[in-house]
Structures are given as C-alpha cells and as structure tokens.
Amino acid sequence: MLTLTVDFARRFARNRAALVGFVLVVVVIGVAVAAPWMFPRNPLRIVGRPEIWPFVNPRYPLGTDSLGRDIAAMIAYGARTTLLIGLCASLTATIIGITVGATAAYFGGWVDEVLMRFTELFQTIPNLIFVLTIVSILGQKIEYVTIAVGIVSWNPIARLTRAEFLSLRDREFVQACRAMGMGNLRIMFGEILPNALPPVIVLSSLVIAGAVLFESAVSFLGLGDPNVSSWGRLIGDGRTLIRTSWYICAVPGVAIMLTVLALNLVGDGLNDALNPKLRDR
C-alpha cells in the first residue's frame, strides 16, 4: 500500500503544473481552515471606512468594500463557502452520476434506454439557467445552491461511468463473479466500480472547479445566500463601483481564477497518475 501511494505521488509530481496546482489548492484549503483564527470576527461585519484600497491600511491588507467590510476576511471565509459548495456539489454529482451510469450499463436494455434519455434531457438544458431556476424556486440558501450545482453537473459523470462499465461488464472476472453467485449490487460496486473509478475521479475533480464557477455566477447575480460570505457575491457587490474601486471585484476575481486553475491542474495531474496507459511515458 505504501509503495503504491509513493508510486502515485511520484507519477503525480512528474507533472510540474499539477504540483503547482496542488500547492495552490492546499493553500486555499489552509486559508479556509484557518479563517476563524485569522479573522475571529464575523467576516460580514462592518469594521472600517468604506472603500479603503488594498495595501494602504495594514489592518485591512486587501482593503474594505463599499460598506467597510474587511475584504481579506471575506476572502478567507469565502474560501470555505467556495470549497464546501465545490466539494459537496461534486460529491452529489458523482453519486448521482455513478448510480445512473452504472445501472444503465450493467442492466442494459430498456433500463439503459430510459436512463440515458433521462441523462440527455438534462444535457440539453443550459446549465447556468437550470441552476438559477432551481435556486429561485428553492430559495437563497447555500444548501440549495449546492444541490442545484450537483443536479446540473452529474450527466458527464454518468456517461463516463456507463462507458467504463460497458467495457468491463462482460470481462472474465465479472463472469467469474456471476458464476460464484454474487449479487448484482456486489458485482457492480464491489468488483466493477473500483476498476472504473480512476477516470471518474478525474472528472469529479473538474466538477469541483465547475461548481466554484457556478456558485460565483449565482452569487454575482444576487441569488446566493446573503448570510454567508462568498467570492461571487463580493464581485457582484463591487460591480457598481468598478469604475472607481475596481479592486473590490478584482481581488475575489483573482481568487476564483487561481482556485479554478489549480483544480484543473490537479485534475490533469490525477489523470496522469491514474491512467495506466500514461504510466511509463
């Protein structure tokens, strides 16, 4: 097991960009975890004069927004929101996607037909509009945003899982399992899934990046949860001042850009590390 992990890490690290991405993700996670120690007060508290530029007042290193809230604190707490939504949405999407994809491929026939048409139905709806619709129906709560992002992001995972399952379900080891009298569920999740998982994990990591962008878009449009600090909301709040105090938009914008970039790089690295065909490249 240990050698396997070391091996994996070595292959991951061979991709330098992925390593940079990984470091960035670790930094973002670190900031998110440390937020309550770095900024013990509620990040949405008005603490100073509005529109203090970054690097002017050492107490507010990234400046204050139009109400006089500390941007650094909002960025730190925003990282929590962003990561939480990203992870949970990705988890939701992966669970739905794997279930649908695996069931469709394993059973085939009319089950496959119905589930794939259902997947295509979701594919044809523009994602952002679907997210906005769900949020405006359910309400402006962070849980609902997460669910909405999960619901629009599962279909590529379902299709990928289905493709992997299709290539695996008739292999000898599966037939052996059948011959031994294993149940369907056990074969699906105990035997086939571990073999199908690597590409799905790569895709899930990209779904996190997508979820971060969705959350930002929803908050930017003012449909996010106003009770929590989020990067997208900060951009949305700052956009009326973009001609005079552009940093209010720029600071969280850079944060979103770096995080999404880092997640994509990590996804690439995972692909390199998990894809057996690339193992000895």
């Binding site: 949405l44 009770n227 001609r243």
Partner: protein
C-alpha cells in the same frame, strides 16, 4: 475700464451663460424648442410587470403608463396645480361638490372623443374602487351635466388641496371607458398596450428590453409633443446605465439611474448633468416594516427598540454616499406643507435598544434573544446593503437574523401578498398630500392583500384611523396641518413601519435634453414638452 479686453468680456459672458445653465438647467430653454428626434430614457429600477397597472404597482409601471394616460391636473415644482385634461375644477361653497370643466377637442389614441362620460366612468369604476381607494371614500356620485362638465358630489366636505392632489396624483390616471367598460380593469390585457389621450402612443413592448412609443400626431395641443419617438429601455444594473450614458446610448434616466459614486465623475465633463428637481411630489424613502402578524413585532416596545438599534446616519452616508438623510417621523422632510420635527425620534443607541428588549421580555438566552427573517426587497441595489447593515445592527443586540434579498417579483409577493417576512426593507414614494399615499401604509383600510405598496404590516389602530378620517374631511388648511402632525406623532411612536432614510433622488440627463424636471413628479409626467437640442 479700457483694460477690460475683448477676451475678458468673452470669458465673463461665457461664464455667466455656463452659470445659468448650472444653476437651472431646466430653464435653459429660452431658445425655441426643436421638434423631432428620439429620446432614450430609463429609470433607476427594472422592467414593470405590465405597462399599466391599474391598482398601482409601483414606479416602474407608473413611469411607462404616464406617457400614455393623462390626468386632469398636474403639480408644478412650486406645488401649484396646472390644468391638463381639465380646464378648471371648482369647489362649491360647502366643499361637498366640485365642478370639473373639461378640455375640448381631446381624442383617444384610437380616434374616439374624450368626454365627460369617460371621466364619470373613471371616477366611479376605476378611481373609487381600485386606484384611489380610501381617498374617494366620501364620494357619493359623479354626473356628466354636459359633454364637457362633470359634477362630483360628496357625503362630507372634501378639502380642495386634497382632491386636487388626488386628481394630479398617481391614482388619477384617466383610462378610456369604451375599452374598459364591462371588463375587469385590473386584468384587461389592454394594460400591456394602453390606449390613452397622452402625447405618446405605444408602438411595441419588447419584453426584457424596451418599450417604444411614437408621437401622437393628434395630441390635443397641436405643438406638442416635441419628440418623434420615445424609448424606455431597462438596464439591469446601475453600472451598465452609467456605461450607456458614456456610450451615448442613453439620454435621460430618472430616479438614481447610475451608481452614486459615478454621478460626479459623469457630470464633470459638462455633457451630462445631474438634476435633483422634479421629485417633490414623489418623495422617496427606504422603509423598515415590522410584520404585526408575528407576536414579537406586535409589541410596540420591540419595534421601538429595534428602531433605536439602527444607525440611520450610517445608511445615509455610506450606502447612499450622502444623497439621503435620516428620516424624522413618517413624513419626508422635503414636504414643505406637512413635515414636522415634533415627533418621537429614534437616535442610534444599541445599548438602550438592548435594555428596551430586556424590559420587553426578550432577554438573551443561549446567545440570542430571538430569530427573525429579514426580507430586503431586491429592486434597488442599496436595499441589499441596507439589509446587510441591519442584519449586523440587529446581531449587535443579540438577535439572530436570516437575511434574504429576493428579486423584484418575489419581493413584491413575499412582502405585499404572502406577508411572508418578520422584518422587511422596502421603499415607497409619497406625494405632498398625505392621504392616501402616506397614510395607507398605516391605516386599517390600507390592508389589501396583494396590493403592492400599501399597509403590508397588518397594523390596525382605530385611533390612527380616526385621525386620518378627520383629516380627509377637514377643509381648513391650518387644521389639516395640525391633524397631519397628530398622524405623524402616532405613526412615529407606534412604528409599525417607518422610513429609515429620506432619499434625494437624482435625474441624470445629457445636456442636450431640454425642458425636463419641470414638474413636481417629473418621472410620472407625460414628457410632451421635453425636447432635444440636436
């Protein structure tokens, strides 16, 4: 004297010309108005639910419908009445009947003549039951004595200023009898393509974008309107309106169309001006409303405590960048007739607020006194910031606050139809006359489920109703002012809903747009006299 060179002379006269324009841009039209051109206009809000909303519906439909529907009178900047469709309105000696003489030769956009029958229909079928509500309670009958004369009869004396304000106000729009008779006025589909007597005819409404009006060539004043075409376009956010001004895609925007920090930047070049006139009869406020259907907010002590927890100077200075001031009482401070300072005030003092809540029976238990839902109406950007600030202010006195900022439609529904809020942040604009635009937020008969911008708190107090009822029939102006003071004092100390800050709205216009902001409620004016110097 001989040292006074030609250059100096030119400088001073140019300076003087510039100065006149800066001081009074609306009066800079001593030159003859020019005909023609297309004006692109907007306001600091979003698209209306319908171009004309008979029961009110806020400023957005008011803005779009008043270019088509006219009124009998209008209100000038210095609070005098001017004739529009009526030539003269005279009270009888006992103030129990009024005779209205109508303008001759007015036709509807579809060519039918405008007559006294139309006015009778409006008074009895539209104003009294739908738009004016309580203000025409005393009305007994309306009768057309000849095609151009209408006599209104009342059960009780009706003050002249009050009646004229109603006729010149938001509820006094005149709609065609031949189109609306026999139908449900509120749901008639014609409300999306209204037909009126006004200077502009609706050409088309492209939803999500704009409404286009064409000049009414058969307008009763043959020299008006000056414009050929009027387009009201909606932008979703203030920053893009600001960009539209700079790109020359927008000529005039009423009611704070652009971010306040941008005003000085745009006005600096001289090509764009900022005008604060034209709002005296639609005095805007941001309000806080306490839902009386909730046990906690039904207690006056709680409402008073919460009022005291809010630093209104902060809202005025930081959120409105100084273009607002803390409200005093229930009446806007720009109301030169009825405003009074002699009311209960709520100076910011969170310690005292906390003590008041302790005394009212809501001590801190487990870190919180109670939890409330704060609904901040999402139609203005500033409301979200007010919501965020008030959340913090309440949390400072250990109240747990769950803030939501729904979009326009959802906000209207939650606050005015479903009453689904504990505390709400909303806005309204009142006329100089207090009945009904200000009083209907407090009186029992203002509780109309589904009617936007009325009494949504459910507050009901027979004493306050009584004061308003007496004011409605008092014909002596001085006594009316005294009654208005009584109303204001009651409303302020009861605080079911109170203005937080009085807004000072700004109209932004290109300097070649002339003759605007000339009446007491310019946004709701027909804009016939506006012209372009191009």
């Amino acid at each position: 004297m001989n040292r006074f060179s030609r250059r100096d002379f030119l400088m001073t006269s140019a300076g003087a010309a510039l100065a006149t324009r800066l001081i009074d841009p609306a009066r800079a039209d001593v030159e003859a108005p020019k005909r023609g051109g297309t004006l692109i206009a907007t306001w600091g809000g979003l698209e209306p639910q319908s171009l004309f909303v008979p029961a009110g519906g806020g400023s957005s439909p008011y803005f779009t419908s008043t270019k088509v529907h006219e009124r009998l009178l209008r209100f000038t900047v210095d609070l005098k009445f001017e004739p529009v469709l009526a030539l003269e309105i005279k009270p009888a000696a006992d103030f129990r009947s009024y005779t209205i003489k109508l303008r001759d030769g007015v036709t509807w956009h579809d060519g039918k003549p405008f007559t006294a029958d139309d006015v009778v229909f409006n008074v009895m079928e539209y104003w009294k039951p739908i738009s004016a509500g309580v203000s025409l309670d005393a009305l007994e009958s309306a009768e057309a004595t000849d095609p151009l004369t209408v006599v209104l009869k009342f059960k009780a004396p009706v003050p002249e200023f009050f009646l004229k304000s109603v006729l010149a106000g938001k509820s006094g729009l005149i709609i065609p009898k031949h189109i609306y008779a026999g139908s449900n006025i509120i749901t008639n589909p014609i409300n999306n393509t209204p037909v009126g007597t006004g200077p502009f005819k609706v050409k088309e409404w492209v939803r999500g974008s704009h409404v286009e009006y064409l000049r009414n060539d058969k307008y009763w004043n043959p020299s008006l309107p000056y414009l050929d075409r009027l387009v009201i376009r909606w932008w979703r956010d203030p920053a893009s309106r600001s960009a539209a001004f700079e790109a020359g895609q927008l000529d005039i925007g009423t009611f704070n169309p652009i971010p306040i920090p941008d005003i000085d930047r745009l006005a600096k070049g001289g090509k764009i001006i900022a005008e604060t006139k034209g709002y005296s009869n639609s005095a805007w406020v941001a309000t806080i409303e306490f839902n009386q259907r909730r046990e906690i907010f039904n207690k006056r002590e709680v409402r008073q405590a919460l009022m005291q927890a809010i630093d209104r100077q902060f809202i005025a200075d930081t959120i409105f960048f100084g273009r607002a001031q803390p409200s005093v009482g229930a009446i806007h401070s720009s109301n030169s007739i009825f405003f009074t300072k002699d009311v209960q005030d709520y100076p910011f003092d969170s310690k005292k607020a906390a003590k008041l809540l302790d005394a009212a029976g809501y001590p801190v238990k487990g870190g919180s006194r109670f939890k409330l839902n704060l609904v901040s109406a999402g139609w203005f950007e500033e409301n979200e910031k007010i919501g965020q600030y008030i959340k913090q202010a309440f949390e400072d006195i250990d109240i747990t606050v769950d803030l939501v900022v729904p979009d326009r439609a959802t906000s209207l529904k939650r606050i005015y139809t479903d009453y689904d809020y504990d505390v709400a942040i909303s806005n309204n604009s009142g006329s100089v006359e207090l009945i009904p635009s200000t009083t209907e937020f407090y009186t029992t008969d203002g509780i109309v489920k589904g009617a936007a911008f009325r009494n949504a708190t459910g507050y009901s107090n027979p004493k306050l109703d009584e004061v308003v009822a007496r004011m409605a029939v008092e014909t002596d102006e001085r006594k009316r002012i005294a009654l208005a003071g009584d109303f204001d004092r009651l409303a302020s100390s009861e605080a079911p809903l109170l203005p937080l800050v009085d807004l000072e709205p700004v109209t932004i216009a290109r300097s070649d747009v002339r003759n605007h902001s000339t009446t007491a409620d310019f946004m709701g004016e027909s804009w016939a006299e506006l012209w372009l110097d191009r």
